[in-house]
Amino acid sequence: MAYMEKISLTTKFEGMHDVTKQVQEVVKKSGIQEGICVINCNHTTAGIIITSFWDKRGHVDFQEELDKLIPLRYDYHHNFDTPTDAAGHIKSAICGTGLTLIVHEGRAMLGSSQGVLFCEFDGPRARQFFVKVISD
């Protein structure tokens, strides 16, 4: 048995959006007690990661360190779009655009300070991602 749902959100520039609640809601709505939950987004300049959700300033550190690793320089070879788009592709590839969580007792198993975050790497945009819950 499987249940899937699309979640859309509008992001902010270099935004880190905590989507843990929405994911848990989908798992609850699916009614599946034991199984796995796959989270996937089909964008090339966005990422989905697990990190601590407690301190929002930690998310700013994440984006700043990523910016140091992959600077918004203008002379990327991929200059069909904008530099933020070119850097966004690399950041998205590094962070990954999908997650798999274990569903146990009707909830996605996450640590006490783990949160699912949707990271935006190319400016404010309308974004969407998919959550599919599959029973054992």
Partner: protein
């Protein structure tokens, strides 16, 4: 006795121009045998430094390494242009003047090292000054 001379120079993008010839000529014109030679540029997006002579590949490495250390980012706070922003930073990191010892009419580094004029912000008209002091 002090002798100074100003030189105009037109540069290209990411150009590293060898200016040792001008410096030696200034030393000869000055007639000074012993002392020190200072080469300086007042252009805020250019740099002067001494480096190995006779190997263009080394210069390419220097240019590429400079770009890796100081990428021309579009989110600098100064709003002139990315190249201009990176140029200022490179200028202050890698220095914009060199001083050399002049002994018996010859520079110590002659034949082993050359002085280069590096341009960090696109082709433009620039200038540098050579000052020979001593007797």
């Amino acid at each position: 006795m002090v002798y100074t001379k100003e030189y105009k120079i037109s540069t290209g993008r990411d150009s590293m121009q060898n200016i040792s010839a001008e410096i030696c000529k200034t030393v000869e014109d000055s007639g000074i045998r012993n002392g020190i030679v200072v080469v300086e540029t007042v252009d805020s997006t250019a740099g002067i430094f001494k480096s190995v002579s006779g190997s263009p590949e080394a210069l390419d490495d220097i240019v590429r390494e400079m770009r890796r250390i100081v990428p021309a980012r579009i989110n600098f706070y100064q709003q002139e242009s990315p190249e201009n922003g990176a140029g200022h930073i490179k200028n202050c990191l890698f220095g914009s003047s060199v001083s050399m010892i002049l002994k018996d009419g010859k520079l110590l580094c002659e034949g082993r090292e050359d002085v280069y004029f590096a341009e960090y912000d696109g082709p433009r008209e620039s200038s540098f000054c050579v000052c020979v002091a001593g007797e």
